[in-house]
């Protein structure tokens, strides 16, 4: 590494590490988020199914039949109170006794659909239905299939994206605002060294962003990677470089912190929503899927999940590498072309 490049990287790292907010956003925030979400969606024994029975003739019978299923919490309420429960989500399904018996529920709520089946089965059994074949359940709770296992690669991806955009985009614009960029250009410093230093400093930060999150999620939730450490490293580095390119692009023209934070939010928020950080991309219509798959964050997160949960071989992940590589290279090329040096 040339002397100016080494000093530029060192200056960058020192300046970042001496700011407590960097430490918070880089290390603590993702960990806190992972812990909070991991606890909220810890996937322990599912709670009882809440059922309301509307008071009236037949209500007591229905209540008795349903109470035979220990997994249900049954309440008999007036129609008005029952409606309120259902509307506010505190009851999954409402049973209105009569002939025919009426189930009232919202079919877009998965738990309501399940509750309806469960209530129906209990009532039909109580009325004498028998199962033609005997069955028994064998319950599993394998690490790898839990929400936290899904979440951690998503958070890792989001973290790498934020690091690239804020860590490069914001910092370059700050140098521009401080007129430090201009002053450095008046010296024999190479422009190449300036940009390269931002990239290298960014890469130096990557282990700090990734390792503590992985370690703590393993320690607290037992999340581990099926795939090799080497594959994980390769995906992480390519992802980080891809977002470093995007970060340079958003910084190429901006002259105020308001512009750069607007641009960064504009670039990151849609991807946080659609790229599968918190929930699967399959929830979006098929029509949008090619578009979503073409986003760098989707490629990064899918590749991370591929390695961590499926143990996918790197060769299989080439489309993801291609997407990340193209984003990184094209953004960086555009950034060089657009860059406002003075």
């Amino acid at each position: 590494m040339s002397r100016p490049l080494r000093h530029l990287v060192l200056a960058r790292l020192r300046e970042s590490l001496r700011h407590p907010e960097t430490i918070f956003w880089t290390f603590l925030f993702p960990i806190l988020l992972a812990v909070a979400l991991g606890i909220a969606f810890r996937g322990e024994r599912p709670g009882p199914t809440n059922v309301v029975v509307v008071d009236g003739r037949g209500a007591a019978d229905a209540e008795r039949s349903l109470q035979a299923d220990k997994g249900m919490r049954v309440e008999v309420l007036s129609r008005e109170a029952a409606d309120h429960r259902l509307r506010t989500g505190r009851a999954a399904v409402m049973v209105i006794p009569g002939d025919p018996l009426l189930y009232r529920y919202d079919p877009t709520r998965p738990e309501s659909r399940l509750a309806r089946e469960r209530v129906d089965r209990a009532l039909q059994h109580a009325a004498g239905r028998t199962d033609p074949i005997g069955v028994s359940d064998n319950l599993v709770a394998e690490p790898g299939a839990r929400y936290i296992d899904f979440l951690i690669p998503g958070l890792l991806g989001m973290n790498l994206m934020g690091g690239g955009l804020w860590g490069i985009g914001w910092v370059i614009v700050e140098d521009r605002i401080r007129k430090l960029l201009k002053l450095q250009l008046a010296t024999p410093m190479r422009k190449r060294d300036f940009l390269l230093a931002h990239m290298l400093a960014r890469l130096a930060f990557v282990p700090l962003e990734v390792v503590p999150l992985l370690f703590l999620s393993w320690l607290i939730f037992g999340v581990s990677s099926v795939g090799s450490l080497l594959s994980l490293t390769a995906v992480t580095v390519v992802g980080a470089l891809s977002f470093a390119g995007l970060g340079t692009l958003v910084a190429s023209r901006a002259r105020t912190t308001a512009t750069i934070s607007g641009l960064i939010n504009l670039a990151t928020f849609p991807m946080i929503v659609v790229s599968g950080v918190f929930f699967s991309t399959s929830r979006f219509p098929d029509l949008l899927q090619p578009l979503i798959r073409a986003l760098p964050l989707t490629a990064l997160i899918d590749a991370l999940r591929g390695v961590m949960t499926d143990g996918a071989h790197l060769a299989v992940l080439w489309p993801h590498f291609l997407v990340m590589g193209l984003w990184g290279t094209l953004c960086f090329a555009c950034a060089l072309w657009l860059f406002r040096w003075t």
Binding site: L10, K179, Q184, P188
Partner: protein, 319 residues
């Protein structure tokens, strides 16, 4: 020994900087208007003028950060657009309002700038020279305004430049700090370094510079040594009068022998005169005749500010 900046075939030194017919237009506004300047090797040259006169644009063109719309720029015998890095290695620059990374120490910042230059000076000795030894290990965020300007100066000096370009290095400093800063700039001139400094403080330019160019609306309206410029005034002495009671009309003063101009500034009457021993008694007679009494009468040498006023017909504001 340093190489001569631009030794001609006969061994004579060319100018350190020459600007010929330089024009800079931005979206219809003319920031620099056919400017000609020549800065000699080893001199301290001042660009003087109010804010917005075009000093910073001129400097940025000169150090190759902006391209002129037209005109020719030759710095240390070289034009921009060739081997710019080698040319930059010979120039030290401090710009207006640069803010250094807050959490780097003074020594770290100077070391960073030192690393940009292929050859240069020892970081510690430069820091000592600008008087920041005690602050070498402090973060730049802990520095006072004056100390920050000194840090900027250290960064400009650490590449051991032949040409030192300082854009408004003393703006925002208190008068005491400005004096100290001026002294350190003067000491570099003694090393044979050429200095270009821009300032809107007239008295500073008068004190520091061998020659100055007064810049007004992108043009150099006067170029010369402060003494020459002052001597070029019709009256190079100024009588400043503050009234206690009564007044006299300007026209009556103007009629007195030896008076070259009359103006008023902040309630004082300023009379430019050629010969004090002729005009002052006449002035006093006039006041007596009008029953006006004086609070103060001061006689001083004309300054660059008087030059500015006589050239532009406008009062000079340095803030």
């Amino acid at each position: 020994m340093k190489a001569l900046p631009s030794a001609g075939p006969d061994g004579t030194r060319g100018p350190a900087v020459s600007l010929l017919g330089v024009v800079k237009r931005y979206d219809g506004v003319v920031a620099v208007d056919s400017l000609d300047l020549e800065i000699r090797v080893g001199e301290c040259f001042g660009l003087l003028g109010p804010n917005g006169a075009g000093k910073t644009t001129t400097i940025e063109i000169l150090i190759g950060l902006q391209e002129p719309t037209s005109g020719q720029v030759v710095v240390l015998g070289t034009k921009w657009g060739g081997d710019d890095r080698s040319l930059r290695a010979r120039i030290g620059v401090s710009l207006q309002e640069t803010r250094f990374p807050e959490r780097l120490t003074v020594a770290e910042v100077v070391t960073l700038f030192r690393s940009f230059y292929p050859r240069g000076r020892d970081v510690t000795s430069v820091i000592r020279e600008v008087g920041l030894e005690e602050k070498a290990r402090s973060w730049t965020s802990k520095l006072s305004g004056g100390q920050r300007q000194r840090l900027a100066l250290a960064c400009a000096l650490v590449g051991d430049p032949e040409l030192l370009v300082l854009d408004e290095p003393t703006t925002g400093l208190d008068p005491q700090a400005r004096l100290q800063f001026g002294d350190s700039i003067l000491s570099y001139k003694d090393r044979g370094c050429t200095i270009l400094v821009s300032t809107h403080y007239m008295e500073e330019a008068q004190r520091l510079c061998d020659r100055v160019a007064i810049i007004e609306r992108g043009k150099a309206i006067a170029i010369g040594s402060p003494d020459e410029l002052i001597a070029s005034l019709d009256g190079n002495l100024v009588v400043e009068i503050e009234m206690a009671a009564g007044d006299v009309e300007d026209a009556a003063v103007r009629r007195l022998a030896g008076v070259t101009s009359v103006r008023r500034e902040n309630g004082s009457l300023l009379v430019s005169v050629q010969e004090a021993h002729v005009t002052v008694p006449a002035l006093l007679d006039l006041f007596r005749a009008r029953s006006a009494s004086l609070a103060h009468l001061t006689l001083r040498q004309a300054t660059l500010e008087d030059v500015y006023v006589s050239l532009t017909g406008r009062q000079y504001r340095d803030e």
